[in-house]
Symmetry: C2
Subunit: 98 residues, 2 copies
Amino acid sequence: MKKEILDKYKNRSEVIKALAHPARLFMLDYLSDGEKCVCKFTEELGLDQSTVSKHLAVLKNSGLVAFEKRGLNVYYRLKCPCILNIFDCIESVNKPEK
Amino acid sequence: MKKEILDKYKNRSEVIKALAHPARLFMLDYLSDGEKCVCKFTEELGLDQSTVSKHLAVLKNSGLVAFEKRGLNVYYRLKCPCILNIFDCIESVNKPEK
DNA sequence: TTACTATATGGTAATTTTGCCATATAAATT
DNA sequence: AATTTATATGGCAAAATTACCATATAGTAA
């Protein structure tokens, strides 16, 4: 792929890749009403704690969420709540019949 | 992952996965001013024609674009132009320093 | 019909992503 | 200090994605 196109679209694609998993999409929705600790995600998702931790790390590394450790718990929160607004458009996309 | 969460977020994640590649993000931007035929994407992207065709198939299968064959060419167009509006938010996401 | 052009598809190897297990780390509690 | 609790990390195998090459297909032109 031509370098100038790659340069222009790679950053976008990295953020979007971070969004591209059902568990991580749930996480963002789940954070819409405020911060949550890791154990809450684990409880809701029914995934292994290490798996949840890795999904949160993906969101964190992309810049979509921030975190804060308080006592034994780590609390995650949305860094860019505007992300919640993109889902109406996403939901409006309909798969073609084939 | 719990079934009800998977059910709710899988459709979203499928559309977002279709977005999650620099070449496909370029394609959507490139379609913002109207339909283009496959050869134009190939020319702009500098990727193999078969690779371009497969990227377009991903966009097509997700419902993000539609196509029409006219003569020897196949013209693709945006089916959901609202998708162009999500990129401002995506661009506003900043990677954490580490 | 034959040849040519634009696009799609099958195959495959390299890379990336995912999810679990085991374990490490850090803070709180005893 | 030793134990417990919450979270993160390393390792690995399975699955998904990517890009190319070779080839198939469909439309056009000769």
